[in-house]
Amino acid sequence: MPGAIVIAGRESREESSTRSNFPLSTKPRRRFLAGVELLGQSVFGRLVQKLEDAAFDHLSIFVESSLAPDFDDAVSDVDGYATTDVWRGAERSLIEAREAGIDCVLLVRAGAYVEFDPSDLIQLHRESGNFITRACDEHGPLDLWAIHPDIVDESRILSATLYGAGEPYYRVPGYVNRLQNLRDLRLLVADGLSSRCGFRPRGFEVRPGVWMAHGADVGRGARVVAPAFVGSDAKVSEQCLITRCSNIERNCKIDYGTVVEDSSVLTGTYMGIGLDLCHSIADGNCLLNLNREVMLQIEDPVVMRQMRNNKPRAEGYRQLPSNFRRGEAVLSVADNS
């Protein structure tokens, strides 16, 4: 009977210094990219949903406390899973799994978007007879492991054991986006809207390639040109143009006559009247231009701002299963049996 653990923690300084292609290396990364809502749901939310759908007997989620605010759009009530040390939480969860007689646990560190079949990985792991099987793609190893709970050893740090493990590797056959930087984030949106991967918009395809979620409002004379996405309760005002793989996320407002081209407008962002947003990511009053690799804080609220009435999700949004146990802040185990 397999189990699964999902952890979400910020990178250590050592790990982030190994990134060679992070375009904004001189600036701190504001948000945890796996928690950012894209095409209606975050990478983290999609991962949790995938594991739920795969019907693991035990599913544990640990989110670093400092990241919890970034996850408001990923899963509901993420505070219930917040902890200061996600790896310690994972260790305790593994010990529980061992005591419950579970022979294989899938451990995923949220970050990259990886399309894989959990049952494939578990099967390979069991056949190999090893304690640790790590997933990889053509660019190297990924933060996804199938492990035997017996690897937990009080004298060794779990993260060091996992990152130090070598072969065997499970080669992920599907699409992988490592979400290492904001350029990757735009690429994921473009690939999702262009059907190059399984990162599909959460909404209705109102015209070929044009996706809208519940409550999206497109004004008269506004044009939404495929492929594009307008999220729930987002408003696109009159005479606007949304085009070239652009996504307007939940609770955004694009005001009169503004053009959004090859850009992402993240949840709850207001874009003012008559603007030209191209090759950019807009998040509240923060604007990142990918062509020039410039990040700007726009102090003028009539140009860009975070909407004050950033409404919560509509009723009926997916909740984590009610049988999640939240007795301890550091450990949450689902038991579907």
């Binding site: 008559g274 603007l275 947003l277 604007l287 410039v294 700007l296 102090e299 003028d300 009539v302 140009v303």
Partner: protein, 135 residues
């Protein structure tokens, strides 16, 4: 402030917002009141610009055009470029990669340099009289 002949080159401040933009306007205003003002605003230092800054640039351009002059932008920093494009005003200005090029652009057709006895078109078409004789 640097001057190069009749063309005035001015540096736009790093923080081109609210109060700074107002101070800048106070400084550049008298220059724009001359006859046919020719101004280049060098924007390489600009790190931040708000709508007050953009409004100041547009006001300067308007004043220059009103007096039959012109105002050009040069050496835009990436930040300034992004803001001007976002607010759709980049297309209103003539923009040059360096202030030297911007200054040269004012003298692209050196009318004053032509000798007065020659007709204006001789610089472009050569000596038409000689052509006539040859035909």
């Amino acid at each position: 402030m640097l001057t190069s002949g009749p063309v005035i080159v001015m540096q736009v401040p790093e923080q081109f917002t609210g109060g700074e933009a107002h101070n800048f306007m106070q400084e550049v205003g008298p220059l724009l009141e001359s006859n046919r003002p020719r101004v280049v605003l060098e924007c390489s230092q600009v790190r931040s610009m708000d709508s007050a800054g953009v409004e100041t640039l547009l006001h300067c351009l308007e004043e220059a055009l009103k007096r039959d002059g012109d105002l050009k932008l040069a050496a835009l920093s990436p930040e300034a470029e992004v803001i001007l494009e976002l607010l759709r005003v980049a297309r209103v200005f003539e923009i040059y990669p360096t202030s030297e090029e911007a200054v040269r652009s004012f003298n692209a057709i050196p009318v004053d340099a032509l000798p007065q006895e020659s007709p204006w078109y001789s610089g472009v078409f050569g000596d038409l009289g000689a052509l006539k004789e040859a035909s």
